[in-house]
Symmetry: D2
Subunit: 333 residues, 4 copies
């Protein structure tokens, strides 16, 4: 019973169907009919004209975005627990040619205008100090917390005032949208976001994420960077088809909501073990090594997060019975 | 009727079956049972211990190989018509952090010890000149020519004598193996090849190539570079499963042979229009614009290669009837 | 008697005096009074508002310029015999993060609109091909040829029409100005040049070149790149003082003219041995190995350029007697 | 009266004499007699065979060292107040192609085995986390603290045990040697240091630092990286001559001792204002803005370090009278 992560979950049947349906000869790269339809489809979803690139991984989406928004000699403000800082093997530095991640604080891995400003104000403007060019926030965060539209907007305003671009790592954007009930537009461009890594892989996709540019002027160069990074699949139709299937009838939101609901069930059983409020599909619990071992002995798989803490992650396809059993097991500890 | 390229062909049914079969929860990244089986399976195929990384594109495979074999301040000798020089959008320079491609000549996009030595001998050893660290050859070449084992071995010997590593871009390795009838080992490590980009996408795969290291000591760093390039899929099992399906019962060779046979049929019809001997699945023909237009008017799609030349590429799934019709149409010009 | 190169010549006494005069405490980096005066002084020289960065080497000047004018995924058109291609150890690729040098032809290492257009017209616009973003020409060229203002202007017009930036490697700009008698403005910004590597080291300086931006918008980022490359001397005043001394009373032109005059003397003695017209301070001669050995036996030091060719370079401080002796020796062969 | 930094001090007369003495024609780059003598001279100084490259700035020395010791996908452990992290404009990331600086703690900007191990132990070995490849320490530190030989040796042992290389930023190595009285060998290679940035610019030089490799195998590649970074002066003799002059009769140690003595005088006057023990040539004092303004009104120039703190730096050529006046002024506050 795997609560280790949502990153290896199965493909949603509708997505798999879409892949199979795309198994017909068409133009290579992103010239096919699926890829060519992405801009329009996601423009409708976001209620504004966007430019979209499919990429195969969240790391690729994040790092192409950062390379688009920050020059090699610049810096990107992010939370010190951000995925781009800790879990991408130095990919941001590779894609940006050595831009510096500038680490700010914030509860639940959420940045705030105050914590960002605190960091920014300490950076001298001279050439000896790397200058920030962008901010990157994660929604939902690495601790399963979500930004409300007004929280994003406050950061967006700061970004605009400081002449910084704003990127959102939305590997779990679906969980954030489902968790807040907010319109995707309100969580992004209306709040000042320039580029979104719109994640599907953790949410029922196989191998496709969407890099969405709300601000014009970036997509052409990003397409060249995508090719230059070896990310331009010759059979791009199989990626585009996944994205189109995920957004059809809001499947992505339904899947995010399902994962969130599983997490809520676990949270309800966890009582005061909860380390963070559960707002998406991740549950962090205080737990002794003995307790963790006891759960594992019952067949539950999860991540030891920090000393005395475990992380449980639910997915779109978590088994209801498994979730119920885990909730019961936690309650019985 | 598409003879434009083999790069957008359909997925072989057995590969698609393997993808579907892999749609079950397993460990993320390359910890799953499919990925974990790759080294053993390809070691058996190559009759020696190899280390294998799945990657999604040929460009990624080539460039991770080059980054493994050449430092940023070094150079890579390749043919001036090589894919890495002309068709990868600067990816080799991105992955290697600016290593220089050093362009040598050779008939049919084939390098020879003589053309390589001619280039090498003109490079002063001092720090003002970039020093070569590797040679990259393509088999089958960009003109559909193949290297025989002894031709690779001659280059391998030169490489060893000059202290250079040897990479083979095998985006169409299957066609080369099918075309020569040689054992894969004789075309690679026995001939001095250190790393092979073993292509499947053009040959019935969906999105998986294998980067094969014959020389130990490179794979660990290459795995870090793969992650750093955003190429480490969390659901790597879908890539590994493709590769395993392709090598099962030598499907890859059968597919390569099928494509080659289609090309041979076209070649037979082409008579003295042939620009290059047809040894794999590419056919280059002398053709006037009017003749090309006449073919297109009959529904044939292909690439205008150079002034007065067209390129036809067949695939594993080219339609017999289409091939016959094209052969007839060429004969009738 | 050294005719090997002008790159190791002595410091002009006025430059050395200026260094000694700057040996007084002042603000660090480029905050000192000498550095602060550069923009105004060179704006006067060029008869337009320019922004100037001192750097210690011609390679640094060239590569900071290229990094300013071309993104990592772009290309720079240059002559295949250009210094940036052959003699800078891959520095352009380092500074630009892997931009591609695109090699064009032209007699005497001079590009022409026709040779540039020939190269440009063969580059497809798609993402598989690196796109050119800049042109770099060398004046005087690697073969001691000079561009007249109208020749630069023709290339400048092409650059503007193709939306390319134009860089001039002026390691021997003094020799070009002295050789053509043209106004520095006519050889640069009036002809469409965006950035000039204005060389002094070969012409009486110790360790200072000026990177001159004629087009606004580049200097700020270039200053950050300069720091990031470890090129921002804390005692920048010693570099700025050199440049100011060199431009004082047109010392730089006088020095260039002196070197050119020495070369002219050698050229006059060379008769039909001349490989290239002598327009600056370099003389290429056809010469058998035996003849070269005979000259060397008389104490003359020079470079074997290619089979059957030698290169003689004169400097601002070449000894009149040495030049006369070499001229005589050549005549006597 | 400048106590702002030692980075813009005058050239020591013996160094200037050496520059003038080198103003004679010799081989270019590092082929001249001065450059060729560096290895032997510094091998004698360090009592072991070393390989030496001159470079013009401390940033260049540090970053060439780091690029030699750490691959692009690796990390370098340093103090969070280290110069390479805060004051080099991202140069380490540029030279290493994006390696990550990993920030550890320690009093007075000094790392300890414990603080390093604390950081290292938190880094998972998997590919998602950048792996450390080197440690960089600064001696004397950014707070004017020095490492004793046994402190360096303890870090050196940790480095060896963890398979990490060890770099020392010795921009103020002279002050550390003068302050500890230790033999240069005991502070470096005997304590496990692989590469030293041996600073002279802050200590009486004009524009020359020495990058010293104690561990064989790095210098050849570093020379290519030096060229590739535009740092290979054609008139390298003027840099080598500076270094030779500085080490002649231990001038560097005498200059370091002079600066330290000035600082000791200020420290003695500072009483309990001292933020850090004064062990080299930097003095950090608690001071209110009003007090700082009062000192400035008397003509003293210095750096506002942090809220309520100022930094005073003495140099080899600080004026005795100025120092006495400043000491008196501090005492009188």
């Amino acid at each position: 019973m795997r609560f280790f992560s949502d990153n290896a979950a199965r493909i949603h049947p509708k997505v798999l169907d879409a892949i199979v349906a795309a198994d017909t000869l068409d133009t290579a790269y992103d010239g096919d009919r699926w890829s060519q339809g992405l801009d329009a489809r996601l423009s409708a979803l976001f209620d504004t004209a966007v430019e979209v690139l499919w990429v195969p991984t969240g790391t690729a989406a994040n790092c192409l975005a950062l390379a688009s928004l920050c020059p090699p000699y610049g810096g990107v403000v992010c939370h010190r627990d951000a995925h781009i800082q800790n879990d991408e093997g130095g990919a941001p530095e590779f894609y940006t040619h050595g831009a510096k991640l500038m680490l700010a604080d914030g509860e639940g891995a959420k940045l705030t205008p105050a914590t960002i400003a605190h960091l920014l104000d300490a950076i001298p403007a001279h050439v000896h100090s790397v200058q920030p060019h962008a901010i990157s926030i994660t929604n939902a965060t690495e601790y399963g917390r979500v930004y409300a539209p007004e929280e994003v907007a406050a950061i967006g305003e700061l970004a605009r005032n400081r002449n910084l671009a704003l990127h959102m790592d939305g590997a779990r954007f679906a969980n954030a949208v489902a968790g807040t009930g907010a319109h995707p537009a309100d969580l992004t461009w209306r709040a000042g976001v320039d580029a979104l890594s719109f994640g599907f892989v953790k949410n029922g996709g196989m191998s496709a994420e969407a890099l969405v540019f709300f601000t014009p002027g970036h997509a052409d160069a990003a397409r060249r960077r995508r090719k230059r990074a070896g990310l331009l699949f010759s059979k791009g139709r199989y990626l585009a088809a996944q994205i189109l299937a995920m957004v059809e009838d809001d499947l992505w939101i339904a899947n995010g909501a399902a994962a969130n609901a599983h997490a809520a069930r676990l949270a309800a059983a966890a009582g005061d073990r909860l380390v963070h409020p559960v707002e998406a599909n991740e549950v962090f619990l205080r737990m002794t090594p003995d307790e963790a071992a006891a759960l594992r002995a019952q067949g539950f798989d999860f991540y030891d997060w920090a000393a005395g803490e475990i992380r449980l992650v639910t997915a779109w396809d978590s088994d209801e019975g498994d979730v119920a059993r885990l909730a019961a097991a936690i309650g019985a500890l």
